[in-house]
Amino acid sequence: MSAVLGISGGYHDAAAALVVDGVVVAALQEERLSRVKNDPSPPLRAARACLSIGGIAAPDRVVFYENPYARIERVLVSLLRGFPRTFRQFPRAIGAQLGSKLWILDDLAEGLGVPRAKVTFVAHHEAHAASAFYASPYPRAAVLTVDGVGEEAATAIWHGTEQGLREVAHVDYPCSLGLLYAAFTAYLGFAVNEGEYKVMGLAAWGSPRRREELAKVVQLSSDGGYELDLSYFAFHTDTELGFSSKLEALLGPRRPAERPWDLETAEDRAYADVAASLQALLEDALLGLARTARKRTEEECLCLAGGVALNAVANARIAREAGFSRVFVQPAAGDAGGALGAAILGAMKDGAPRPAPMRDAALGVAVDAGEANMLASALGFAVKRVDDRDAEVAGRLSRGEVIAFVDGRCEFGPRALGQRSILADPRAAATRERINRAVKRREPFRPFAPSALAGTELRWYDEPGDDMTRFMTTVRRAKDTTLGAVTHVDGTARLHTVDPESRFGALLSAVERESGIPVVLNTSLNGAGEPICATAADAVAFFAAHAVDALVVEDVVVTRRPS
């Protein structure tokens, strides 16, 4: 038996993944256990949880998702290239590298009680590529990895075959589409590494009328490459701000972070136009890269990974226009997924077979319904156990209730896929407003996603589901406004298609029996700024702090006592 633990972390969204004899046994982000959103610290809690799930005392090998030596080289080289503007960053950057990040392999060995010789690493983008290709159902594929930055590459094209992954081409830091998007996220007043989704949601409210101006910021070349004009950016010389005053001179002043959004005003509409233009630019850049990948590999299938691959709107456009017949994005496409890629690469290097295609993302810790029962009772809530959980939930949803729903093991990645979800009826737009304002406390322009029973989606959407809708990593256009709560302002929806044979599929069937439609509004089970719930305690704490009508943890139903 061979057990390989993959680890990502150090920068954001740390995670661990365990592969035993070629089977992905567990994968979990550290934030789910530490309760610190996007927790970057060495994921020892997540690693121990994965080992415990697999019943493994000590792994045979630990594989980190990045080469720490190449990283320190790139840091030093880019600081020197930026001389003398990088003088403020130099002490901090070198301090962080030499003070902690260089020693990550030692920290992992000590923290997990594994001999240091058994702790190795793979390259950042190779880990991303593996996390997509080896989780995909394709025997051969082109692979495109796009993120902020790894050791040196910010984008890479790979060719995945029966022989393994081979790099075809790459674009180096500082020309990074991830950092481009991050810089605009900061310009629009959102938190970097967190607000990128908001930029994508906001883009639907604007029109790409600033696209021409943005052509000065990023030049696309005919070979699929792209170049950033660094004079508009500051991420290479400044840790706090991603963009320079020149960008503000081009597009107008940045948006103040604290001002509430009001898209009725011309001012905020103008910011939505910037978001839409950025989104259009990103899509054009990704399309160029994807078409090059198609040409160079001559493959029919494409896998995408890296933080930028979480851009569902761009993914849909790539699927339509890049010339591939199938496209796959696994749900933890960001850095967390690097842990999965590292574990798979390590296992295959040790002779394990390629893992089976990823069927679902329920790879985290399981919930303990008995614990939820005990805690909810102790906090004074009404608790009951039900025989037919699905009928109970369906009935409540049809009465317009908003339900916190917890089932089985938690999802790997940022998407709620039916294990840790807030569920509601997908029809009334008022439901969306209620969840946005009372539960998520987020900007009113952000959409919610529909989960539909696979095979029924053509009743509401223009195209059938595909390899991506299974993991909610693409969008579809709605045929009408029936599902008002889950249709974005531009008529799209981040559709999630659910296997009828799965437990969540059974719930959707019960919902259909109750309401006539096998669709629910499905958003992640977390409050504003919090990681998604993992354990029963998280779920009960969420229920106590948020105005949802009921908490359902497997067969345990928790409600508030009438006051």
């Binding site: 840091v75 030093l76 950057a93 003070g99 706090e240 991603g242």
Partner: protein
Amino acid sequence: MSRLRTVAGLLGHFLHRQRFFLAPLLLVLLAAAVLLVLTGGLSYVAPFVYAIF
């Protein structure tokens, strides 16, 4: 003592024939490491930390 493996890894990386011309940068790292030992380990947090560090 196991940290020697990391030191060896770092040296090996910079002395590799593909980038031996960067070997002088080891002097910079050595000077910084001496200063770091003198001042104690430090850690920092900032949003663009992953781009620079």
